[in-house]
Amino acid sequence: MTVQLHAHARAFPIGGPIVEVHDISLNFGGVKALTKISFDVREHEVRAIIGPNGAGKSSMLNVINGVYRPQAGSIVLRGERLAAMTPRRAAHMGIARTFQNIALFKGMTVLDNIMAGSNLRMHANFLEVAFRLPRALREARECREAAEEIIEFLEIEHIRKTPVGRLPYGLQKRVELGRALAATPQVLLLDEPMAGMNIEEKQDMCRFILDVNDHYGTTVILIEHDMGVVMDISDRVVVLDYGKKIGDGTPEEVRSNQDVIDAYLGVAH
């Protein structure tokens, strides 16, 4: 299905840089996680960050949406320079993400998880909610409608009211994607969206990621292990190794980059 996507003209042509990362360095108590990483992400593109285990991929993502504070460097979001990003700030600026090891709200149903994702658009205070005043009801309806659109989009109608805890791994990943989408993000960070999935699940996930990018024009930054998948679905790839950037470019370029071959493909499984 990926082939077919690229065969057609893109619904949202790739635009200018939407996220720029400048000389980011991050270390935990002396341990260097990232050193002077710089790259940019263009609007509407699918950008992959790859690298062997412990290359600092997740750290990079965590820096971009402010979970970690880099010791040095800055992030430019839609031209706005931000010395320090905080998770909430990132969310408000249209960045949503999924986590490497699923971070769903275990006690809630699929529907509630996804609805929770759109909390930024809920303005009614708890009293309005308690007394079911018009605004609360209106927002609840809109929130549900948005959630239902996503549920349809991700083809999870049949588990709508199932507590996420009971779902198999693959579906949980899908629900987490749904929760991220509920925030209607401009930039979507996916931390190993296909880790631990079987072939069909991976294919589905690829389709969904591409459809998201294609249908909503969402810019996607994803970390992935599976080289094949990455090469199929991403427009450009950044390669990290031991916290340093060793490659950046289209899948083809990266594939032919000697450092990458040594560092990554050498040890690839």
Binding site: L5, D211, H215
Partner: protein, 656 residues
């Protein structure tokens, strides 16, 4: 019935009538986005006429042909009627057909406009578009993934609708006039016959024929506009069209479309239809599900279930047919209804069903009786695409498992020397599209349609069908051999998915069986038998013993009846795969394609009669992702216990 309803001789006119008389009543409900979105008759009419305006703008003309490929959706019904509004002919096609399968019908029917549900369907169409120069417009419903398609023929349903709405103001009168032009004799829709033998034929049915049949049946069962039905079968099947489109249009009751195939059961429980139609296939899988889930239940529940089902067989069936039953039994049955039948009906979503048909295929008597025993008024009807379905229907209170009921109003029956059933009825089709010769063969000079089914009329005036004429044969010893009877009997066991009986001209009967992966798999799990996949499961000795036991039970029952004793199955083998429509072994409605099967599995049949112990088979298989591959497997040939013809007690063999 109201006079103007009677003079409404086309579906568009009926729709307008319904919009006038019960505009605010629900016409179509669709489970979408988690709730039941409802279209009233007025909404449906408005959408239809707007769509018609859009179609007219895009050059659809009287007599043109419009293909519809997709699931049951309100949009689909509106599209159907909009097509007919302009005097064009609707051609619903099977949504799971491959691009190649779609090509011939489309060519044959000279399609110009196509309604396609989603990207998947559109992709199929684009594949064959080059060979279909006549196609000018493809209307897609879901724009998911469609944004970057640039073909000029493509237009989204929504856009067409808005366009139509815009035009409506100016065109309303013209459109109404167009609809008024329609006559009952006009062709309404084109259906491709299941075609158990060779190529599918395009059956043309007129508004008149469909409406006449719909009215007759509705009157007979006194359907009301308060009735509710589920639309979950392929729209390309005449049955779905009759029960989900024609009859609602005539009666004005509500059709409900499930959210997705996976959620069908849940959705059905929510809606609780009062009028339910299911081919034997569906009922079989329902029964299989019930048995499987009951197997997982605790001991007490299980024995309760067994006890009360036995009772239901004895008491429920006659009760439902309004026969006298001793008070004691009736009281226990009440209890059972509280503890077992009621809840079962409810979890199956059948609590409110007051009329249920099984159609499309002959049903095994045990299967029929199972549901009747539960208190569901399940009835057989007999008909074919060419007869607009309704030929015979079992009247309430006279349901006999071996009959398909009495002739409905306006239908005449007669038989040829070869016992072939001939039908004459106002519901007959007007001919095979673009195939005058075939038409002449099917409908003779006096207007009798040759059904190709062998049967006879009982003294009770009820029709009994033996089998397809060309399938009915005789064993070497001359005793009558009707494979379907045996197959249905065996398929009552939940472990059996499909069965093919062979025996014509042979000295004894053998069977090729494909197991039900779900039921057998569950059974295997409980007896902790490890297996890697379908083929592996089917090759397990334990499983073969299990099936042999089923066949044995069937044989025992056959042995009870001297007339059938010779039909006992002596040997069988378990197929390494399920029979699939995609592999051409079944029709899209799930009927056996004996010719295809006979050719493909010749080797197996020979081996069965050569009394070999096993046979090697190399089979083409198509994987999910469409790749072709060959499996080669050794199929063991199993012997089934058979019994002396004299009536004797049921055997007490245990499944190992």
């Amino acid at each position: 019935m109201a006079p103007q309803e009677l003079q409404a001789d086309t579906f568009p006119k009926l729709l307008m009538h319904q919009a006038r008389t019960r505009g605010d009543r629900p016409a179509v409900r669709e489970k979408s986005r988690g709730i039941w979105q409802t279209l009233t008759w007025r909404d449906l009419a408005d959408e239809t006429v707007a769509l018609a305006a859009g179609l007219a703008e895009r050059g659809l003309q009287r007599g043109g042909h419009v293909a519809l490929i997709g699931d049951n959706r309100p949009r689909l019904y509106a599209a159907l009627c909009a097509t007919q509004w302009l005097g064009a002919v609707a051609v619903p096609l099977y949504q799971d057909a491959s691009a190649a399968e779609l090509l011939d019908p489309m060519r044959n029917a000279e399609i110009t406009h196509i309604f396609a549900e989603d990207q998947e369907q559109v992709d199929k169409l684009l594949e064959i578009l080059p060979q279909l120069p006549a196609v000018t417009t493809i209307i897609y419903d879901q724009d998911r993934g469609m944004r970057h398609y640039r073909q000029p023929q493509l237009v989204s349903h929504a856009d067409l609708l808005t366009q139509g709405r815009a035009l409506l103001a100016a065109r309303r009168d013209a459109l109404d006039a167009e609809a008024a032009l329609g006559r009952g004799s006009d062709p309404a829709a084109l259906f491709f016959t299941a075609g158990t033998t060779g190529q599918a034929k395009a059956v043309v049915l007129s508004h008149g024929a469909l409406i006449n049949r719909a009215r007759t049946a509705a009157a007979m069962e006194n359907l009301r506009d308060t009735d509710v039905t589920m639309a979950y079968l392929p729209p390309a099947w005449i049955g779905q069209h009759m029960f989900g489109y024609a009859q609602p249009m005539v009666v004005g009751f509500c059709v409900c479309c499930p959210e997705s195939p996976e959620t069908m059961l849940a959705d059905m429980r929510e809606i609780g239809p009062t009028y339910f139609v299911a081919p034997p296939k569906v009922l079989e899988s329902l029964l299989a599900q019930v048995s499987v889930r009951m197997e997982d239940a605790g001991r007490i529940k299980r024995s309760l279930y067994q006890y009360f089902m036995a009772l239901a067989r004895r008491v429920g069936v006659p009760l439902l047919s309004g026969q006298a039953v001793p008070l004691g039994d009736r009281l226990v049955y009440r209890l059972g209804d509280m503890l077992m039948y009621g809840p079962l009906r409810d979890v199956l979503g059948m609590s409110r069903v007051r009329l249920a048909y099984t159609a499309g295929e002959a049903i095994g008597p045990d299967l029929l009786l199972y549901f009747r025993a539960l208190g569901v008024n399940l009835k057989q009807l007999y008909g074919a695409t060419e007869t607009g379905i309704f030929v015979c229907v079992q009247p309430d209170g006279e349901v006999k498992p071996d009959s398909v009921g009495t002739a409905t109003d306006g239908v005449e029956l007669k038989f040829t020397a070869q016992r072939e059933l001939l039908v004459r009825s106002p519901g007959l089709f007007s001919g095979y599209h673009g195939d005058a010769d075939a038409t002449r063969l099917a409908i003779d000079a006096d207007g009798w349609f040759h059904t190709g089914d062998a049967g006879w009329l009982g003294d009770d005036g009820q029709l009994r069908i033996i089998d397809r004429v060309q399938d009915v044969g005789a064993l070497a010893d001359g005793s009558l051999f009707a494979p379907k009877y045996l197959e249905n009997k065996l398929k009552f066991f939940p472990f059996v998915k499909e069965a093919v009986a062979i025996g014509a001209g042979r000295d004894e009967v053998c069977m090729v069986v494909s197991i039900d992966a779900g039921a057998v798999g569950n059974w295997a799990d409980r007896h902790n038998i490890a297996y890697s996949g379908y083929a592996d499961l089917a090759s397990r000795d334990e499983v073969q013993v299990l099936i042999a036991d089923c066949v044995g039970k069937m044989n025992a029952e056959l042995a009870q009846d001297p007339a059938l004793a010779s039909l006992q199955v002596h040997r069988f083998l378990l197929l390494h795969k399920e029979l699939e429509a995609d592999d051409g072994e079944l029709t899209r409605t799930g009927k056996l394609r004996r010719v295809v099967i006979g050719e493909r599995y010749q080797a197996l049949v020979d081996a069965l009669y050569a009394r070999r112990d096993s046979v090697r088979i190399d089979a083409q298989v198509r994987y999910e992702d469409g790749r072709q591959g060959t499996i080669s497997a050794d199929l063991k040939i199993c012997r089934a216990p058979t019994f002396a013809a004299a009536p004797l007690p049921m055997p007490t063999r245990k499944a190992a």
